[in-house]
Amino acid sequence: MSKHKFTRACAALALTLVAGSSLAAEKKLTVGVADALTGGGAVYGLPQANAVKMAAEEINAAGGIKVGADTYKIDVIAYDDKANPTEATNAVRKLIDRDGVKYILGFCCSGSTSAVASFIGNEKAVMLVGNAAERSITTKKIPNLVRTRPPADYTGQAAGTFIARKGQKRIAVLGALDVGFYAQYVDSVEREIKKAGGEIIAREVFSLKDRDMTPQLTKIRGLNPDAILVVGYVEPAAFVYRQAVELGMNIPRYGFTSGSEEQFLRVTTSEQMEGVWDLRPTELTLLSASKNGIAYHANYTKKYNASPSPSSPYAYDQLYALKAAIEAAGTVDNTDAVAKALRNLAVPPQVVMQYQPVDGKMFDVNGQAYTSNGAFQWQKGKWVFVEDLPSDSKAYSQFLSTLN
């Protein structure tokens, strides 16, 4: 072989290798996130979007999603829906129609999520809902929709049992009761309290943007309740806790907020929060977290220089569930098969939340996942996991199936 021929053969071989490697190079799977990245809902939406991006990086670093001989690396496009129904519809239409996205994650807030849920059944796409807690999202039997967070009344039932067991009979409620899922939570609490001979003696309302709750608290103080129950977004709830102390209300304070220590301490002091209970799904706190949870907390804090909100792993878990479903279905293109695989999925080992599978599956026939519920108490600057709350995911799943 002449020198020229040898050089040419080497070049051809190199070219073949390069071409071969590019043929074998990973494909790209674009997933969309529609969530509240600005506005009042951003305390939940932004950490969710961050969590999805972090999960994508982890999955990519671990080799991506394997579908047959192909490997897919995940690319994330996140759009702000401001927790507004019209904006959410526009964002999802853009993801599906323009960006060609088939898998849409995020969805922290109920109004915007319900708007998208109303048409997603007609699309060749799969919708994975996170923190949005409105019950009706998973009562419509939409085959291509699943949700990682349990509905609010599932948690409210467990919370009511806990409060009744503590012996308080006259409970005053202060919360965002014009928001459907908070009202559903309180209704469930009330049912359980009544069974124990107690009652809700007041239902006072605050809105998302309210900061001065002293009028409602003064009225409640006049009723001399045994305890107060605060349900709502983190910031207004934090103001309630702070102002209750300032008004000298030395009674147990229960809540349903899912806020992190960092989020509460922007408004209150640790002393003002001391002893407050948060009765919620067993979301992320370092003391209750599993090994995955501790790693998630550390990685998130390192990456974003802020602690993750307790509810943010709902979105993180979405991507791992999606990965497992795609691999089980053996396709990224057939969304019907992936949606079906999601319904038959065992809880993937990488998830952070502590799911309670129904018949061995992460999502029940309604597309609903259930986590355990927990009683958390603020002790010396931290949310401390105190105990599990009694929760029957199978019984609730059957109840959910009867609704439409």
């Binding site: 702000d80 129904p85 319900s114 708007a115 014009d178 928001v179 459907g180």
Partner: protein, 315 residues
Amino acid sequence: MNRILVLLPWLLALALLAVLPQVLSVKYYLHLSILALIWVIVAQGQNLIQGFTGYVSIVQAGFMGIGAYGSTLMGLNFQWPLWATMVMAPLITALFALATGYPSLRVKGHYFAIVTLAFNLIIVIVLVNYSELTKGEAGISNIPKPWGGNREAFYYLALALAVSLTGLAALIARSRVGEILLAIRQNEDLVAALGIAAWKYKLFAFVISAMYAGLGGALYAHFQGFINPEIFGVAQSLDAILAVILGGSGTIAGPAIGAFLVVFLPEILRFADSFRLILYGLILVLATIFMPIGIVGIAKAAFARLTRREAGHGG
């Protein structure tokens, strides 16, 4: 010649809008165009009371809500056909507008704006709290869509209605009623001094404006398939005002242009991520300061300057 020059942009715009669904390969833009056409109807209504009569009303989105919920609830509770409920929606809104307009129009200027703002707040509070009927903040899903949700067909429905109602607004503006509305805007005391019952004309403008919004709301509900009270809040009423100001208050083309701007601009600015709303706000502030006569006003002034210069050269 002048008449042709005036009609030409309208004909071109209409031709462009008519072929739009055929040339758009990305249906997301069709979705936005339908929303924009719905907003054209709402903004034309707003223009009647704000642009022609000079009364800034901050309840247009509230009236949209009445139309949207009216049409939806009549369909769901009485099983009335979709087309019948859509026709009924502006009529129901008109009844509400009559009831609210009569006391509201007794005050003028900022006071009228504040009264209508309060009405919008009340409408949202009722929609949120009367949850037995409205399903509250959770909203109503699965609202029937015409033609099984075919977006192209819905686009032409929205286009036909937007064109017809823009034509109706032009007819009103050029009629004797329109002249009196303009006179009220210029000098209401003088109109009264001439023995004209100004309140009747103001009430007429307010009710017609609400009917436009009611129809817009019904279209929105049957296009999106989902409504909740948040969609009909004060922020959306401000969007209707902005559409009129940006496009050109007291003109016919202005609200149509403004409606497309308030729908498309926030979407175009998505590239700016979390700075999107800051940019949007900045554009609106700058446009309002430096273009108080709106896009149509500027275009007219530029055209007039151009024709004057050409006439000057010719002479």
